[in-house]
C-alpha cells in the first residue's frame, strides 16, 4: 500500500472512500439511520438530552471498549474486562466503607486493573499461551476476588463519590455527568496514542503481522504487554465510572460485559484479526448499542431479550460486511 505512487492516489476520485474507512462509515450510516427512525417514531427522541443520556448510561462501557480496541488491534482478546470492572468497583466500595481517604482509594483502584493486565500480558508473551485462555483465567480470578471481598452489594455513601455521581454539568438546557467527560478524555487520549505515537504504530504493525513486526525490530513483547496493561487500566477507569454510576460495588455486576464490549468494537469496524480499526469506530459501536437500548426502552412493548437478538444480527451484518470488504481487497 505504502509503495503506491502519489500520482495514482491523486487520480482517485474524491468520492472514493479508502477501503479501511468503509466499516466505520457503514457504522456511522447505521447510527444515523437508527437515530432517524427513533426521531420519526417518537417525539421525545429528538430531545438532545436523549443523546446525552446514551453517553451517561454507557460512559463506562465506552472506556472499557477503548481499552479492548487496543488489544483487538494486536490480534488478541481480553475476556477479563467485565470482571476487572466489577473488582475495581468492589475494592473502591469496600475501602470507602472502611473509611480510607478517597484519593488513596482512587490510586489503589486504578492500580489493580493495570497490574492484573500486566501480569496477563507477561504470561501471554513469555509463556506463549493463547490470550483467550489467560484472560479467561484472569476473568475467573477477578470475579472470584469480588465475592471474596464481599458476597453482597456494598453501598457507597462517601462524599467525593456521591458528589461525582450527582454533579450535573450544564450544556445549555441539558446536562452530562462527570463520567461522560472522563470517558471522552480517555477516548481522546487513546485516539491520539493510536494515531500519532510510536506505541500506536507498533500496535497496528503487530496486528498486521507479528512476524514481520518482529523482523522489523519492533518491540513486539513490550507492546503486547503494554496493550493488556492499557486494557486493564481502561477497565479500572470503567470500574470507577461504574461505581460513580451505581454508587455501590456488587459482586455480580458487569457479568457478560466483555461480550457487549467485543460486540461494540466489532460493530465499530475493528477487524478481529487485528491491524485495522479506529477508536472513533469503537465510539460509534458503543453508541449503536446505546441507541438500540434506547429504542427498545422507548418502544416499551419489546422485551429486553430483543436487545440480544438485535445485537447478534448486527454483529452478523458487520462481520459479513468486513468479509466482503476483505474479499474486494484481494
Amino acid at each position: 500500500m505504502t509503495t503506491t505512487p502519489l500520482a495514482v492516489r491523486a487520480d482517485r476520485a474524491w468520492w472514493r472512500v479508502p477501503q479501511r474507512h468503509v466499516p466505520v462509515l457503514a457504522t456511522f450510516v447505521l447510527l444515523l439511520v437508527m437515530y432517524g427512525v427513533g426521531v420519526s417514531q417518537y417525539r421525545a427522541f429528538s430531545n438532545i438530552q436523549v443523546v446525552f443520556n446514551i453517553f451517561i448510561d454507557n460512559g463506562f462501557l465506552l472506556v472499557v471498549a477503548v481499552g479492548m480496541t487496543f488489544v483487538i488491534l494486536t490480534g488478541g482478546i481480553d475476556l477479563s474486562v467485565g470482571s476487572v470492572v466489577a473488582m475495581t468497583a468492589m475494592v473502591s466500595a469496600s475501602l470507602l466503607r472502611d473509611g480510607v481517604n478517597p484519593a488513596l482509594v482512587l490510586v489503589v483502584a486504578l492500580l489493580i486493573g493495570p497490574t492484573l493486565g500486566f501480569a496477563m500480558g507477561c504470561v501471554i508473551h513469555f509463556f506463549d499461551i493463547q490470550p483467550f485462555i489467560v484472560t479467561l483465567a484472569g476473568m475467573f480470578f477477578a470475579r472470584g476476588m469480588c465475592t471474596w471481598i464481599s458476597s453482597t452489594s456494598i453501598p457507597i455513601t462517601e462524599g467525593f463519590w456521591t458528589s461525582a455521581a450527582q454533579e450535573r454539568i450544564r450544556i445549555g438546557e441539558n446536562f452530562v455527568s462527570v463520567s461522560v467527560l472522563i470517558a471522552l478524555a480517555v477516548v481522546g487520549v487513546a485516539a491520539f496514542t493510536l494515531a500519532y505515537t510510536r506505541l500506536g504504530r507498533n500496535v497496528y504493525a503487530i496486528g498486521g503481522n507479528p512476524q514481520s513486526a518482529l523482523l522489523m525490530g519492533l518491540p513486539v513483547g513490550r507492546t503486547k504487554i503494554a496493550v493488556y496493561t492499557i486494557s486493564g487500566l481502561c477497565s479500572a477507569v470503567g470500574g470507577i465510572l461504574l461505581s460513580f454510576y451505581t454508587l455501590s460495588g456488587a459482586p455480580l455486576i458487569a457479568v457478560g460485559m466483555e461480550l457487549d464490549v467485543i460486540a461494540a468494537v466489532v460493530i465499530g469496524g475493528t477487524l478481529l484479526t487485528g491491524g485495522s480499526g479506529y477508536v472513533f469506530g469503537t465510539v460509534l459501536g458503543v453508541l449503536v448499542l446505546g441507541v438500540i437500548q434506547t429504542l427498545i426502552t422507548f418502544d416499551g412493548t419489546l422485551s429486553s431479550w430483543w436487545t440480544k437478538i438485535v445485537i447478534g444480527a448486527l454483529l452478523f451484518a458487520f462481520i459479513l460486511l468486513q468479509r466482503l470488504v476483505g474479499i474486494r481487497k484481494k
Binding site: 482478546i77 504470561v123 513469555f126 509463556f127 506463549d128 499461551i129 493463547q130 483467550f132 485462555i133 489467560v134 479467561l136 483465567a137 484472569g138 475467573f140 480470578f141 470475579r143 472470584g144 476476588m145 469480588c146 465475592t147 471474596w148 458476597s151 459482586p251 455480580l252 461480550l259 467485543i262 460486540a263 466489532v266 478481529l272 484479526t273 422485551s303 429486553s304 431479550w305 430483543w306 436487545t307 440480544k308 437478538i309 445485537i311 447478534g312 444480527a313 454483529l315 452478523f316 462481520i319 459479513l320 468479509r323
Partner: protein, 356 residues
C-alpha cells in the same frame, strides 16, 4: 537416581500425567477433608456416593467438551454451546409443557426430536459461517452466543418453564443398571465419538484440517465439509447436554441454563492437553479435564466455600495446568536448573544430531 528418572520418563512425559495428578490431588484433598468421600454404596439397586455424583454432574460438561474438542481440533472454537444448551432445553420443555399428558413417551420423544433438530440447524448455521463464508470461528460463534441467549428467552417468553414429566426427568436423574442414566448417555456418546474418530480415518482427517485446511484440501480432503461437520456435532452434543441440565431441575431457564458452560468446556479441552491452535485432539484428556472441573466445583461446595469464590480456585488450576503444559514455560524451567535435566530433551537432542 538417573535410572529411576529414565524409567519414569514415559510416565511423567505422558500428556495425561499432569491432568491425572491434578485429579488425584483433588480427590485426596477431599478425602482428607471428609473421610467418607470415597465410599460408594448400593441403595435400592442404585449406586450412591460422592464419586458417582461427581461423574453424574460432569456428564453434561463431558458431552459439551467432547464436541468442543473436535471443533478445537480443526483450529476453531465454539462459543455458542451455552446458548445451544439453553435453546434446546427451552424448546424441549416448552413442547412437553404444552402436551396434555406430560408423561407420555411419544410427547417426550417428539420434544427431544424437535429440539435436537433445531440444535442441528444452529450447528449448520455456525458451520456455514465458518466453513463457507470464512468468518473467524471465535466471532462466527459469538453471534449465536449473544443472539441464542435472546432466542432462548424468546422461546420461554422470559419465564422459567417448569414441567412435570417422568420420562424427561429420567434423562437427568434416572438410573439404568445401577448407574445414573446421565453417565450412561455420556459414556455412549463418548464411545461413539471415539470409535468414529479413532477407528476410522475421520479423526486423522479432522486433525489434518486443523493442521492446515488448505493443504488438506489440496490433498483431496473436503475441508469445508469436515469443518461444517464438527460444528454440527458440537451443537448436537450441546443439545443432549441441554436435555440433561434441564431434566436435572425439571425446568428451563433461558437466561441461566448452560451459562458459562462454553468456558468450562474450553477449559476441559485445554486441561486435557488439546492445543487451541488445532491439529490434535485427545478425547481421553478432555474427559479427565471435565472431571477435574466438576471435582473442583463439588469439593468447593462440600467445603462450604461461596460458589463464586470457587472461580478463584478455577483460575489457579487453569493457569497451573496451562503453564505446566506450555513448552515455553518448561524450557524456562529447565534452563534455570541445568544440574538436573529431565531425560526427554537429551533424547530429542540425539534425534536432532542423527540427520545432521
Amino acid at each position: 537416581m538417573s535410572t529411576v528418572k529414565a524409567r519414569l520418563a514415559p510416565v511423567t512425559g505422558h500428556r495425561l500425567f499432569w491432568p491425572l495428578v491434578m485429579l488425584v490431588v483433588l480427590l485426596v484433598a477431599n478425602t482428607v477433608y471428609r473421610p467418607s468421600f470415597l465410599s460408594v454404596e448400593l441403595k435400592n439397586g442404585h449406586l450412591y456416593g460422592s464419586l458417582i455424583d461427581i461423574v453424574r454432574l460432569s456428564a453434561p460438561l463431558i458431552l459439551v467438551a467432547l464436541g468442543m474438542s473436535l471443533v478445537i481440533a480443526t483450529g476453531g472454537i465454539d462459543l455458542s454451546v451455552g446458548s445451544v444448551v439453553a435453546v434446546s432445553g427451552a424448546v424441549a420443555c416448552l413442547w412437553i409443557s404444552e402436551q396434555p399428558d406430560q408423561n407420555s413417551l411419544g410427547g417426550v420423544f417428539t420434544a427431544l426430536a424437535i429440539a435436537f433438530g433445531l440444535a442441528l440447524v444452529l450447528g449448520v448455521w455456525n458451520g456455514v459461517l465458518v466453513a463457507v463464508i470464512g468468518i473467524q470461528p471465535i466471532i462466527a460463534t459469538l453471534i449465536l452466543m449473544v443472539a441464542g441467549r435472546g432466542l432462548a428467552q424468546l422461546i420461554t417468553s422470559g419465564q422459567i418453564i417448569t414441567i412435570n414429566s417422568e420420562p424427561y426427568k429420567t434423562i437427568g436423574v434416572g438410573h439404568l443398571l445401577t448407574l445414573p442414566f446421565a453417565i450412561i448417555i455420556a459414556l455412549v456418546v463418548a464411545v461413539i465419538v471415539a470409535v468414529l474418530t479413532r477407528r476410522t480415518a475421520l479423526g486423522m482427517i479432522i486433525e489434518s484440517v486443523g493442521g492446515n485446511a488448505e493443504a488438506s484440501r489440496l490433498a483431496g480432503i473436503r475441508s469445508r465439509r469436515i469443518t461444517l461437520l464438527v460444528y454440527v456435532v458440537s451443537a448436537a452434543c450441546a443439545a443432549i447436554a441441554g436435555f440433561m441440565m434441564t431434566a436435572n431441575v425439571s425446568s428451563a431457564d433461558g437466561n441461566a441454563a448452560g451459562l458459562w458452560v462454553e468456558l468450562d468446556a474450553i477449559l476441559a479441552v485445554v486441561i486435557g492437553g488439546t492445543s487451541l491452535a488445532g491439529g490434535r485432539f485427545y478425547l481421553s484428556g478432555t474427559i479427565v479435564g471435565a472431571l477435574i472441573i466438576q471435582t473442583l466445583t463439588t469439593s468447593v461446595y462440600a467445603m462450604n466455600i461461596d460458589p463464586q469464590t470457587a472461580l478463584l480456585f478455577k483460575a489457579v488450576v487453569v493457569i497451573a495446568v496451562c503453564l505446566i503444559q506450555a513448552p515455553a514455560f518448561r524450557a524456562r524451567f529447565r534452563r534455570k536448573r541445568p544440574l538436573a535435566p529431565p531425560p526427554a530433551p537429551t533424547a530429542e537432542k540425539q534425534k536432532e544430531q542423527v540427520p545432521a
